[in-house]
Structure formats: C-alpha cells, structure tokens
C-alpha cells in the first residue's frame, strides 16, 4: 500500500497497484510511480538482513531480570520477562513510564547486562560475548534510535550518519556516497551539511533513522522515537519506520507509549511492573476494530 500524491492537483490516492493517471485530474503519474519504485528498491537495499541462519526468532529473552541498586535500596525493573521476537516483525513494547520497557530495550540492545536470565540474538547468548563482539554487534547488526535523538552535536548530518561506517572500516568514498543516499532516503537530501542544532526535532530524528541504517542492520531498536516530537512529525517517523520494515524486512522493536504506534505494529507487548502483561497481535486488533465498526 502506498500513498501517491498527484503533482498536478495534489490529489492523494492510496493504491497497491500501478497507477498511470490521476483519478481526479487525469494527469500522467508514470513519473511519480517510477520514483516510488526507485525508492522501494533503495529501501530494500539499505537494511538487507544477510544472516545465514533463519531462526524464526531473531531476539529471544528468557526469564530476564534486572535489579537497579539505588544506594541502599534494590529496585527491581524487570521481573522475569520471556519474549520471542520474530524476524521481520514490527514489535512495539508498550507500558506506562517506569514499567521497565526502556530497561528491556537496553537489555535487548546489549546496552546493559541483565541481573539474571539470558537474552539471545540470533540464538547467540549475549552474556557470552566479549567487549569486541558486543561492539561489533552494536555496529553492524543493530541500529539504535533514541527519544532524545542522541546525535553527536559537533558533527554534521552526514558525519553523524557515517560515524558507524568509520567504525565498520568502510572506505571514505563509499561512506560519503552511502551517507548521502541514506539521508536522501529519509528526506534530508538537502541538509547533508547541517549541524543538529540547525535542524528541527523531526529532522534530527530522521538523521538518527538514517544513522541507524548505516551498516545494514538486521534489527532497528527505537526507544520512544516519537517521545520528543509533535503529533505530525511523530507520525512521519512512524511511517518511515513502517515503510522500512515492509520494504526491507528489517525487524523493528520499539519501546513507546505512543498509541499511533499500535496502528503499524504487528504485535504489541504490554509491560507492567517489569513483567509482560499481555501480547496483542495485529490480526486480533484488526478484528476488534472491525467488529466495533460493525456494531
């Protein structure tokens, strides 16, 4: 499904197939369609999942516990989370603040160590990895998007996007080309050399999305990606992530309490008090919405 905007009359048509003329003003849409095809092709390329194995679950957690030591007090943030995340899935982790969703996000992304339990990526136990392997995983396998964008403030958009490529040892020319392509893909083709403070929140988050795609990740982890954005820009980021997920098959795991995310998620995991409360499937949600509409 894609939205096509007619360049002549501005009419927007949603279509799954080919559209050669605008149904409103009969203008020629072949150019628009061609561009769309082009974009899809590039999207398919940027996050190619080239794993050898085809484990059904790309991420698996088993009895995950995390206890934070706050001075004298021990604060449990996760109390035994078992979660299986399928390859190519768009998964949202929902829950009120303090429910442990960000903690879970950190465990899955290898940004923190669990107190008890294990987290597997491609069936590899993350606790077994040394510092180098973890860095390698973060660099090439996972792309991160944060609520506060976390761009490097002294670097331009393209330098931010190419930083993970430097770590991955890519050649300079290749790096610049890919960086420009990724920024173009997220709609910032004309902002390559802007510093983060010269960009709006939505634009900064787009740079972060482009950066997360730097080294062909198999998983994109997004921690409240729309938390600091207004409704419209938040929607645009969600659409961008969904588009990526559909075209390239990259697995997207997003911690959020933004209800707009539910619409695009394949599954929604509700976390409460450090435990999985319930898991909703997209199919069930559709059904619910459908039956409600029928009444």
């Amino acid at each position: 499904m894609a939205k096509i905007r007619c360049p002549e009359c501005g009419h927007v048509e949603e279509t799954t197939g080919l559209l050669t003329v605008c149904p409103n003003c009969k203008a020629d849409l072949r150019g628009v369609m061609e561009e769309l095809g082009h974009r899809r092709e590039r999207l398919r390329e940027v996050a190619r999942d080239d794993s050898v194995t085809t484990h059904e679950f790309i991420v698996r957690t088993k009895d995950l516990h995390k206890v934070y030591q706050m001075g004298e007090v021990e604060v449990p943030a996760l109390k035994g989370v078992d979660l299986n995340i399928r390859r190519g899935e768009y998964l949202s982790i929902m829950g009120p603040s303090g429910s442990g969703k960000s903690t879970l996000f950190n465990m899955v992304g290898g940004l923190d160590k669990p107190t008890k339990g294990t987290c597997f990526i491609e069936e590899v136990d993350m606790a077994q990895l040394d510092a180098f392997e973890l860095a390698w995983l973060r660099c090439r396998k996972i792309g991160y998007i944060f609520q506060t964008f976390n761009l490097i403030p002294v670097m331009t958009a393209i330098e931010n996007v190419t930083l993970p490529m430097i770590f991955a040892g890519m050649s300079s020319d290749e790096m610049m080309e890919r960086g420009a392509m990724l920024l173009d893909l997220v709609g910032l083709g004309d902002r390559l050399h802007h510093k983060p403070y010269e960009l709006s929140g939505g634009q900064q988050q787009r740079v972060a999305v482009a950066r997360s795609l730097a080294n062909n990740p198999a998983i994109i982890l997004a921690d409240e990606p729309t938390g600091n954005l207004d409704l419209q820009t938040g929607k645009e980021i969600i659409d961008l992530l969904k588009e990526l997920n559909e075209e390239s098959g990259v697995t997207i795991i997003s911690a959020t309490h933004d209800l707009k995310m539910i619409d695009v998620s394949d599954r929604v995991v509700h976390i409460r008090d450090g435990q999985v409360e319930r898991i909703e499937n997209r199919a069930d949600l559709d059904l619910e919405v459908g039956s409600m509409g029928a009444e």
Binding site: D50, S51, V52, T53, N106, G109, L111, D112, K113, I121, E122, E123, V124, Q128, L129, D130, A131, F132, E133, A135, W136, L137, R138, C139, R140, K141, Y144, F146, N150, L151, I152, P153, V154, M155, E159, L163, P164, I166, F167, A168, G169, R211, A214, N215
Partner: protein
C-alpha cells in the same frame, strides 16, 4: 571458539573471524579528525579548558623566570663585589647577613614554585575533568554505534594531549614574557646575565608538566565512561 561461532551464526560473508576482527576499527587519522572537529566546534569550551592550562603554566613559568633572573643578577653582583674588594665575598663584612637573606629568598622561591605547581595542577585537572564529564552522553552514543572502549580513549588522548601541549606552550611563553619584561624594566642587562640553558630546561619541564597533567585529568574519566555499559553512560545527567 565463541568468536568464530558468532561470526558464522550472524553473518554469512564473515565466517573468518580474523576478517571480522578488522571490521571494527578507528584509525589514528580518523580519531585525530574527530578530535580536531571537537576542538574546533567547541572552541569556546576548548578555550576555557585551555585557559586553565595556560594560566597554570604561565604562573609556574613566571616564577621560574623570576628565579633564574634573580640568580643571574645575584651571581653578577657577587662577582663584581669580589672584583672590587679583591677578596672572597664570604669574608666581606656583612656577608653573613647577605647569606641569610639569600637563603630566605630561596625558601620563598621554593614555596612559590610549589604553590604554582599546585595551582596549575588543580586548574588543569578541573577544566579537563569537566570537559570529559559533560560528554558522557556522547561517549554512550558512540558505544551504541559500535565504538570500542579504546576508540573513546584514543579520541580523548589526542584531544587532551593537543590541548595540554598548546595550552602549556602559550602559557609558558606568556608567563616567561611577562616576567622577563618586569625584570628588564628594573635592570636592562638582565637578559645577558640570565642562565638561558637553565631557563630553557625549566620551560621544557613546564611543557611536560602541563601535558602530563591534562592527560592524567582526561584519560581516567574517559576510560571510566568508556567502560560503563552504554545505557548508564547515556543516562548520565550533567
């Protein structure tokens, strides 16, 4: 064996771990480029950090310059006194008093040097420490993007070494210049009377102190941040 296992499991193109090993890198040139970027972009911050170093070293070198200049003048006076009286200065009347005065002055000099060393140590450490801690978040972000601990250390090593060296150099020239001017105004022949070999070695010593201090102040906190789990570094509020 886990290494090759992981590589095999995760990427088909990288079954050879030796090849994988090469795939997380940060060359010194790239690190230097990023550090340079950092200094240029945060010029205001770098100048404040640098000012701490400059002032500390300027104070130290000015004290040393005064010491060398005074010693030069005293040696000259002692020599001319000997020439005039035709006998050893120690035997001249009032020599004992002059000797006491000289010792007191020496003690004052030592005290000043120790003080200025302390002042520069505190100033440099403080400003370097601040400039690292306010970037914990950035360090956490870089680790999320696949930076190894030693990449972080490398970047801060270059940055603090360059800041330390430049700051010390400017500080040494400033401190030396100002103090020398003061002495020249009092006694225009002081330049000829000074022991320049000793002066140069003092300046060299000050450069080393400035550089080493700024490295010592920057590297431990940078290492601490680099070793933190990225989640903790990202959550740091400054």
């Amino acid at each position: 064996m886990i290494k090759s296992e992981l590589a095999k499991t995760i990427y088909k193109s990288e079954t050879d771990w030796g090849q994988v090993q090469k795939q997380i890198t940060l060359s010194w040139a790239d690190a230097a480029r990023i550090s340079y970027r950092n200094v240029i972009m945060r010029l205001g911050r770098a100048l404040i950090t640098g000012a701490g170093i400059v002032l500390g070293i300027a104070f130290l070198v000015s004290v040393w310059t005064a010491k060398v200049a005074q010693e030069g003048i005293q040696a000259y006076e002692a020599q001319s006194a000997t020439a005039v009286t035709g006998e050893a200065a120690e035997l001249a009347p009032g020599a004992e008093e002059a000797e006491l005065e000289r010792r007191a002055q020496e003690a004052r000099q030592t005290w000043l040097v120790v003080m200025s060393l302390l002042v520069s140590a505190v100033g440099i450490t403080n400003s370097m420490l601040m400039s690292v801690t306010e970037r914990f978040r950035e360090i956490g972000t870089m680790k999320c993007l696949g930076a190894l601990d030693n990449f972080i250390v490398k970047m801060f090593l270059i940055e603090s070494a360059v800041l330390g060296m430049l700051g010390s150099l400017i500080g040494a020239l400033l401190g030396h210049g100002v103090m020398l001017l003061v002495f020249v105004v009092k006694n225009s022949s002081v330049v000829a009377l000074m022991d320049w070999g000793q002066m140069l070695s003092y300046i060299g010593f000050a450069l080393i102190i400035g550089t080493v201090l700024s490295l010592m102040a920057a590297i431990p906190p940078a290492m601490r941040a680099a070793r933190m789990p990225p989640a903790a570094a990202l959550a740091t509020e400054v």
